[in-house]
């Protein structure tokens, strides 16, 4: 055996040499195959499109001049005359005009189910609404006519009449949109309030909502609603005949079975009439939209012909794709340092989008010691607001209990500052003073949000100086959602970003502190204050804007006195975008508004010839 081994070793050199030569040949062959495949790939590539600009005869946009009356008694909507725009020479690009946009996930394709950022952006571009909120350059919002060219409110505020635009066509059937479709859409939103329909549920009286004629709809309300013009901006109108044809059984919506949700979610096609239409849905990969050339509205001169929606959230692929110009607008969810890297890529800029959003550290008022307002107030003073802005740079200083850019937001009634001494004074006033060491306050941070633990540790370090114990606990998102469904959750403080649905402060107040939010991720305070609910409902029912805003101010002072949350900072979303070849009004003029509505593709301009310069 020993001799055998020796013999083998003696001969192994030549054996290996021969072995290697065979293997080497195999490797070389593989390399050659790959090289040939590569060569074939590049040889079969079509020649790069030569971007040419061809001046064409302008086609006037078929917008009918319509007189829009001011809806009484809400003076926020100005009387406007929508006229046919003066024809101006347009430029038709020959190279492919496409924008690739990324979100955290692909959208839900049912317009009455979509509710996250991606879904909101999708329905905003594919479906038309009765009215629409438009942001202005100076940072305010106005409600403008959309499918409804004018609207009236009855004196008691219970009946809203909308006059519909004529000649609006649904995408795939070409059928004209009528009042019946609007009534059907409202019924659908109220019956399946999974998406934005939750906004309508408290108000809409379905029995009194009807089509008067082909172009006139009456929307009946259960009680007066002063903000209904904003809510009408969420009534996404669907092709009722198409949806009815595709209803499946079983479903949770009574006689409506599944209300066509299954079919719509599968993404065969959309049932809308908006500026873009769905042409392709590859689950897990992308959604492709194309321009609806028959849309009644007006496109920007170089609005993209196609929009591809993807879900790329990882920093490295985002960086790679943006530098290769295969991604045009990034998500808002990248780590802050990634935006710095992206900003250094030639032709890429960072858009700062001021959403109606805020980062709250929500305190559970039913759990000792947080049931004492003095302890909650002490925590106000224990939060280092300046350091927080350094840890999470996508925030601005909070100046109000709601995002300070909202209509009717008032400054904090008293200074909110990091002050250990004041915190100690407050704790001394509390019933728990002297026995604080018996309580441990838990601060939950979500495993999916890197860096949120530092926010908890920041608070815990300050609290330790005054004898308050804060334990920073990591929990997965699912656990957080589950814990927040019950008031006896083990968690005292839940940090959360909350975004409001319309520009008035009452939108955020309703979402955050009305008892209808109990058990949802929008609220962790669990106040049992009937007077708070009553005050919120009262404000919402006031039709006169001036009076409503005045009452909203009182309400904010009242809520502040409860010290419900630590108002850590107003949220500003960052998105990297290809500023060299895309004109994006939201980025350039400083967007203020609803989460997801910063991407209005019909208002963007894309210049493929400028993109070609960078790709070279």
């Amino acid at each position: 055996m020993r001799r055998g081994k020796t013999s083998l070793r003696l001969r192994s050199f030549s054996a290996t040499t021969k072995g290697i030569s065979k293997a080497a040949i195999a490797v070389v062959v593989i390399i050659i195959i790959i090289a040939i495949a590569g060569a074939a790939y590049f040889l079969t590539l079509p020649p790069a499109p030569t971007p040419t600009i061809t001046p064409t005869t302008p086609t006037p946009t078929p917008t009918t001049p319509t007189l829009v009356t001011t809806p009484t008694p809400t003076p926020t909507t100005p009387a406007t005359v929508v006229t046919t725009p003066t024809p101006s020479p347009t430029i038709t690009p020959v190279a492919e005009s496409i924008i690739v946009v990324s979100f955290a996930n692909l959208p839900y394709l049912d317009p009455h189910v979509a509710h996250d950022e991606s879904g909101r952006a999708y329905i905003h571009n594919v479906y038309d609404t009765l009215l629409r909120m438009e942001y202005r350059e100076e940072g305010t919002i106005r409600v403008i006519p959309w499918l409804a060219t004018k609207w009236e409110v009855s004196e008691d505020g219970l009946t809203w009449t909308f006059y519909l635009r004529k000649g609006v066509k649904f995408h795939h059937t070409g059928r004209e949109l009528t009042a019946e479709d609007v009534v059907f859409s409202i019924t659908r939103m109220v019956t399946m309030p999974e998406g934005m329909g939750y906004l309508l549920v408290p108000w809409i009286d379905l029995e009194k909502t009807k089509a008067v004629d082909r172009y006139r709809v009456i929307v009946g309300l259960k009680k007066p609603c002063g903000v209904f013009q904003y809510l009408a901006s969420y009534i996404y109108v669907v092709d009722s005949e198409e949806v009815k044809k595709n209803i499946r059984s079983p479903g949770p919506y009574g006689e409506w079975q599944d209300f066509g949700k299954g079919w719509l979610m599968e993404g065969h096609r959309d049932v809308g009439s908006g500026p873009y239409m769905l042409v392709e849905y590859v689950p897990g990969s992308h959604v492709m939209l194309v321009k609806n050339k028959d849309w009644w509205g007006e496109f920007a001169p170089r609005a993209p012909d196609k929009v591809k929606v993807v879900a790329i959230t990882d920093p490295v692929p985002t960086q790679t794709l943006m530098s290769k110009r295969e991604l045009d607008i990034s998500t808002v969810w990248l780590p802050p340092e990634t935006y710095q890297v992206l900003d250094e890529i030639e032709g890429v800029d960072i858009a700062k989008l001021h959403y109606y959003g805020m980062y709250f550290l929500m305190m559970n008022s039913r759990k000792p010691p947080l049931d004492d307002v003095h302890v909650r107030k002490a925590l106000f003073y224990l939060f280092d607001y300046k350091t927080f802005l350094e840890i999470m740079p996508q925030h601005r200083e909070a100046r109000s209990i709601v995002p300070s850019n909202m209509i009717g937001a008032i400054p904090f009634p008293e200074p909110v500052e990091y002050n250990i001494e004041k915190a100690r004074e407050e704790l001394q006033k509390s019933k728990y003073w002297g026995e604080l060491d018996k309580y441990e306050i838990t601060f939950t941070w979500r495993a999916e949000v890197p860096g949120e633990d530092r926010v908890g540790l920041l608070l815990a370090a300050a609290a330790e100086q005054v004898g308050l114990k804060i334990r920073v606990v990591k929990l997965p998102w699912l656990k957080v959602v589950e814990a927040m469904t019950k008031p006896d959750t083990p968690n005292h403080i839940e940090p959360m970003w909350i975004t409001a649905d319309y520009p008035e402060a009452i939108s955020m107040i309703y979402l955050r502190w009305h008892s209808s939010s109990h058990g949802t991720v929008n609220q962790n305070e669990w106040f049992e204050l009937p007077e708070l609910d009553a005050k919120i409902e009262e404000v919402l029912s006031i039709l006169d804007e001036k009076e409503r805003l005045s009452k909203t101010a009182d309400l904010q002072r009242y809520i502040f006195s409860l010290y419900p949350s630590i108002f850590a900072g107003d949220y500003t979303g960052f998105k990297a975008y290809q500023s060299h070849y895309i004109e994006w009004p939201s980025a350039e003029k400083g967007f203020v508004g609803v989460f997801g509505w910063d991407v209005e593709y019909w208002k963007m301009n894309v210049y493929p010839e400028k993109k070609a310069e960078l790709v070279k």
């Binding site: 054996a15 072995g19 030569s21 189910v113 509710h115 979610m265 692929p317 530098s323 699912l478």
Partner: protein, 351 residues
């Protein structure tokens, strides 16, 4: 009488046949798996009906949805309903995509299987070449290099390979596309769902090459770590085998060394390597998640993890069952290959 004996004999042969036994065992395993995953999915935190309808849906609607999904019933009844649907070819409605889970599986499975196919090609080729080369010359520079490579391969998870490869070959060098299965300008009609195969069927050379080009980086990312580990296993088996007496006999007969290595030493060495290779490849169906995310690959693994994060009960059970089925089939294939390689296993012997 004679005929009956013959039938009995044939039946006995069938029942004793390895493949039959394996199939029965596999079906039992899958049944067990379905029970376990069905229960596990239901004891995970979170209310699936609430997750599906969102935080804003009113409680009454959520309750109706629970009833529709039978979540208000005891778990054994829920399983009974699921099993009844299963035998009717239904896996239930996914709470992630809101359509039949089987439709989702048909949609996403080919992308992952295609990836697995190319990973298998790279992994098996690499393992054979590297394992044989280093096994034929233990202690050499190549052997040392492979050792380092295999340690690195084992330590570095596939998604990190994915990021590294994407960064170098796509971001810096620009050789390969960074994401997706095809370039935007290339269209391949869906027949089997395998882009490269569909392109071949339709005679679309550009589609084939483009699909292949997109497959290289994710396949490499998934193959590298496992390949390094398997090459080490093959190398150890080779070293053990080339010191056996029968090799010495072959040498004494003057048979060329390359034939000895590639034919007589490699074959028995593969017996210990192939099960590992098989399991590694089968595990991709569930483990490729991060790589699929990085390369925006619309595969089943990505769908499965999304289903888990959203507590999509039917989605989870469907994906895990498919993973179990792929494991089982791979195991059977591995067994068949092993019996071809080692005659002793064919006659009821042990490995």
């Amino acid at each position: 009488m004679k005929n009956r004996l013959n039938i009995l004999y044939v039946l006995e042969r069938i029942f004793n046949h390895m493949l039959f036994k394996r199939t029965v065992l596999s079906l039992l395993s899958l049944f067990g798996l379905s029970l376990i995953i069905f229960t596990l999915a239901r004891i995970m935190p979170g209310d699936p009906a609430r997750m599906a309808l969102g935080p804003r849906a009113p409680e009454e609607l959520v309750q109706k949805y629970r009833e529709m999904l039978h979540l208000d019933k005891p778990i054994y009844l829920q399983y009974y309903y699921w099993l009844t649907d299963f035998f009717q070819g239904k896996l239930g409605i996914s709470l992630t995509s809101f359509r039949e889970v089987s439709v989702d599986i048909i949609e996403f499975l080919p992308a992952t299987l295609e990836l697995m196919l190319y990973v298998a090609i790279i992994q098996i080729t690499g393992t054979l070449i590297l394992g044989t080369l280093s096994g034929s010359k233990p202690g050499s520079i190549l052997d040392g290099a492979l050792r380092v490579f295999s340690y690195v391969g084992i330590c570095v998870p596939p998604f990190v390979w994915g990021l590294i490869l994407q960064f170098i070959f796509s971001y810096i060098l620009g050789f390969f596309p960074a994401t997706e299965r095809l370039s935007p300008s290339v269209q391949v009609p869906r027949i089997t769902g395998f882009v490269t195969i569909d392109a071949m069927i339709t005679g679309n050379l550009r589609g084939f090459v483009d699909g292949l080009w997109h497959l290289i980086l994710p396949s490499l990312a998934l193959a590298l770590g496992a390949m390094a580990q398997e090459a080490r296993i093959l190398r150890s088996a080779m070293v053990e085998n080339i010191n056996k007496d029968y090799i010495l006999t072959l040498l004494s007969h003057g048979i060329p060394n390359y034939r000895i290595y590639f034919r007589y030493a490699l074959k028995p060495s593969l017996v210990s390597t192939i099960p590992v290779v098989g399991l590694d490849i089968a595990s991709l169906i569930a483990n490729a998640f991060m790589v699929e995310v990085i390369f925006n690959w619309p595969g089943l693994s990505k769908f499965g993890i999304t289903a888990m994060l959203r507590k999509d009960l039917n989605g989870i059970v469907g994906v895990v069952l498919v993973a179990g089925l792929v494991y089982t089939i791979t195991n059977v294939i591995v067994d068949i290959i092993l019996t071809l390689l080692d005659p002793r296993l064919r006659y009821g012997g042990e490995r």
